[in-house]
């Protein structure tokens, strides 16, 4: 058999065949559900009197809309009545269709992309979908995980299949080791800066190389999470000891004899020697500085030692025109050093960076320090109730609270501002989230994407600083 990439292998293992119209059907092992993109799908099923194809292949939790305060109040903590209806609708749908839901007051509730791996619902070699583009996160486990629209959510509910053509293979190879203070977030922002937001459209990215092998599962999840920001629907990392060690003992991971069998199979989930990649990007980890985005697209990013670009430094007319819009929206002048950008708000959270390792990295910077006077508010929003509990047990929560941060309950929060956590117009936010689009974190809000350590340092300094100098 010809040498296969990891993506080729997972694709082949889930290829059902073709429909009469010639479309490929890809079998889906797990669908994660949340309140925002599922109600219309459940409604579609009900209207057509279609059952779920496999109830046991679905897992739900509310995350986008839930308030990060007053969690003990359950539904009553949601003051936005429209948001409440959406969360209650998820609850009703899960009950009537028999889907397990980690409810709003369950300690396991959290951001779906944090909860799935944490519970061992996400397993290597799986196909996973969710009505959320950051589903690519689960690719860290060598699972083919993709964001889908609501019609596809409904389609998978009813048929357990996705109608899809195979994507191409893209290898992103990272040699060497990241410097201390430089994280997976800085790495992925660098990659997006090089590829552009459409650089990997039509491809599945496999992250390869020494630097990737050295990353923890948390770091790999951060990396895969933002594959979509380079246009790739999915990102992947091959299985190794790090993967296996993370999955072992998780609540919904197999055990006993099943585990032995599963592990043996998972160990085969690596790209064969000599397999073909349609595109390759190679970079050296040691060259990467902590990154800060300056614009309104994740590709508008530079090192902490850099500056907001001058138009003549950009390569194409298209980039220059987009940068012109971005300067205006962000209120930034070309040539401004990144370290001179003042920060008014700080957000540490999201499916990109709200796992325990992220909170540890941020707390290590914050320990014994205080928020700068010009920072109006700094939020820490753990990715799940269990991450929150773990951080509290380790004393991280107290470090943040002592420094003047607000310690919140789990959810998507200010990553997209569907709940009450939002920026005011003109505010600059150091954010560990994934998108700096106009208005993403609040009408007129100005987002700068950074790593947890960089967000923590900005919170203390009141402007961006090179966290490597603080180590």
């Amino acid at each position: 058999m010809a040498a296969q990439t990891l993506y080729d292998k997972i694709w082949q293992a889930h290829s059902v065949g073709k429909r009469k119209d010639g479309n490929n059907l890809l079998y889906i092992d797990l669908q994660l559900l949340h309140e925002v993109t599922s109600p219309q799908a459940f409604e579609g099923l009900a209207l057509h009197k279609r059952p779920l194809w496999r109830v046991d292949a679905n897992l739900a939790t509310p995350d986008h809309n839930v308030p990060t305060t007053d969690r003990a109040l359950g539904f009553k903590g949601i003051t936005d009545l429209i948001a409440l209806e959406q969360v209650v609708t998820l609850d009703d749908n899960c009950k009537s269709f028999g889907v397990t839901q980690f409810e709003i007051d369950d300690p396991r509730q959290g951001i779906v992309h944090v909860v799935g791996p944490e519970q061992g619902a996400t397993l290597p070699g799986m196909t996973i979908v969710c009505g959320d583009s950051h589903t690519s996160t689960h690719g860290a486990f060598a699972a083919l995980a993709q964001g889908v629209g609501t019609s596809e959510v409904e389609h998978v509910m009813a048929t357990q299949c996705l109608v899809q053509n195979k994507a191409k293979n893209f290898a992103v190879i990272v040699d060497g080791q990241l410097q201390p203070g430089v994280s997976a977030k800085d790495l992925v922002l660098t990659i997006i800066g090089k590829l552009g937001t459409a650089g990997a459209t039509g491809h599945t990215i496999e992250y390869r190389g020494e630097a990737i092998r050295s990353l923890s599962m948390e770091g790999r999840m951060t990396l895969c999470n933002m594959a979509i920001e380079a246009g790739a629907r999915a990102g992947l990392v091959a299985v190794d000891d790090t993967t296996i060690d993370y999955v072992r003992g998780r609540p919904f991971a197999p055990s006993g004899e099943q585990w032995e069998k599963a592990e043996a199979y998972w160990r085969t989930l690596v790209t064969d020697e000599g397999a073909h990649f349609d595109k390759t990007l190679r970079l050296n980890a040691a060259d990467i500085a902590p990154q800060v985005s300056w614009g309104t697209s994740p590709e508008m990013v530079t090192g902490i030692d850099g500056h907001v670009p001058h138009l003549e430094e950009l390569e194409t007319d298209v980039q220059r025109e987009a940068a012109g819009h971005a300067f205006k929206y962000m209120g930034l002048q070309p040539g401004k050093p990144i370290v001179d950008i003042e920060v008014n708000r700080v957000f540490i959270g999201s499916c990109t960076n709200a796992r325990i390792e992220d909170l540890r990295a941020a707390a290590a910077v914050v320990r014994g320090r205080k928020l700068a006077a010009n920072v109006k508010e700094a939020l820490v929003v753990p990715g799940s109730g269990l991450v929150k509990a773990e951080a509290e047990a380790e004393g991280l929560a107290q470090i943040f609270i002592d420094a003047g941060f607000q310690w919140r309950a789990a959810g998507c929060s200010m990553c997209l501002g569907m709940n009450p956590d939002r920026l005011a117009p003109g505010e600059h936010c150091a954010s560990t989230s994934n998108r700096n689009f106009e208005g993403r974190q609040g009408h007129g809000g100005r987002t700068h994407l950074v790593s947890p350590a960089m967000a923590a340092a900005a919170a203390v300094a009141g402007h961006f600083v090179d966290v490597r100098e603080w180590l």
Partner: protein, 229 residues
């Protein structure tokens, strides 16, 4: 799903690259549990100067007269002319629903983001990819009541000046768009094929089946009981 065969309509030019789905339909409108009601909020942050919320109507909003869709020249347009990587970002299908409800039947761009592109075909909004040079020409020619004729069968876009541009489209997606057939019905027609695959898949990877996520109510008990033995 709405079928698409031919359509003739006026063009509105949106001259920006990387238009993301957060711009097409901002997050505050995603709280709806319906598939309708999004058209009034299409490109909300660009069409209006104030911050809107669900339930507000356009006539109670502060209009941004500088935005192209508010220009009297492009009222009633049903074809959106756009730039590279249109629809990037979030997977929200609400973006497609909003474009359709506003009145668009087709979007023409040099490239689209993958998830958005797929979502279009689930709803009968035709995404047409044309070469950047042709797109440049169309932007240059577009003015008030500039009408294009789109014929999906022949895969052509015809300008008022008589230029005919052919576009590529996956034949399977094309047929689906022409027929407007329900995707789920088409897949369920292959029930036996899926069941046959599932049987083999279950034998190969049994740990993926009969997973009881409801097992154990509290996290603590799960954490200990779940330990691999």
């Amino acid at each position: 799903m709405l079928a698409f065969t031919t359509h003739t309509g006026a063009v509105a030019p949106l001259d920006r690259v990387n238009v993301d789905t957060d711009q097409i339909i901002p997050k505050q409108y995603l709280k709806s549990i319906k598939r309708t009601g999004f058209g009034d909020y299409l490109f909300d942050g660009w069409r209006f100067l104030d911050e809107g919320s669900i339930g507000m109507t356009p006539n109670e909003r502060a209009i941004n007269h500088d935005f192209v869709l508010n220009s009297p020249d492009y009222q009633g347009a049903s074809i959106l002319l756009a730039r590279d990587n249109f629809g990037c970002g979030s997977s929200r299908e609400h973006a497609v629903w909003a474009l359709q409800e506003f009145g668009f039947r087709a979007v023409i761009a040099p490239s689209f983001a993958d998830i958005f592109y797929g979502n279009c075909f689930k709803n009968g909004l035709l995404p047409i990819v044309l070469d950047s040079k042709i797109i440049d020409q169309l932007f240059a020619e577009t003015q008030s009541n500039f009408e294009l004729k789109i014929d999906l069968s022949s895969q052509t876009v015809v300008t008022p000046g008589g230029d005919t541009f052919a576009f590529e489209i996956d034949p399977v997606l094309k047929d689906k768009m022409l027929s407007g057939m329900d995707d789920i019905d088409m897949t369920l027609a292959e029930r036996e094929l899926i069941e046959q695959f599932e049987t083999g898949h279950r034998a190969r990877q049994p740990w993926l089946f009969e997973r009881d996520f409801s097992d154990g109510k509290s996290a603590e008990s799960n954490n200990t009981e779940g330990q691999a033995s």
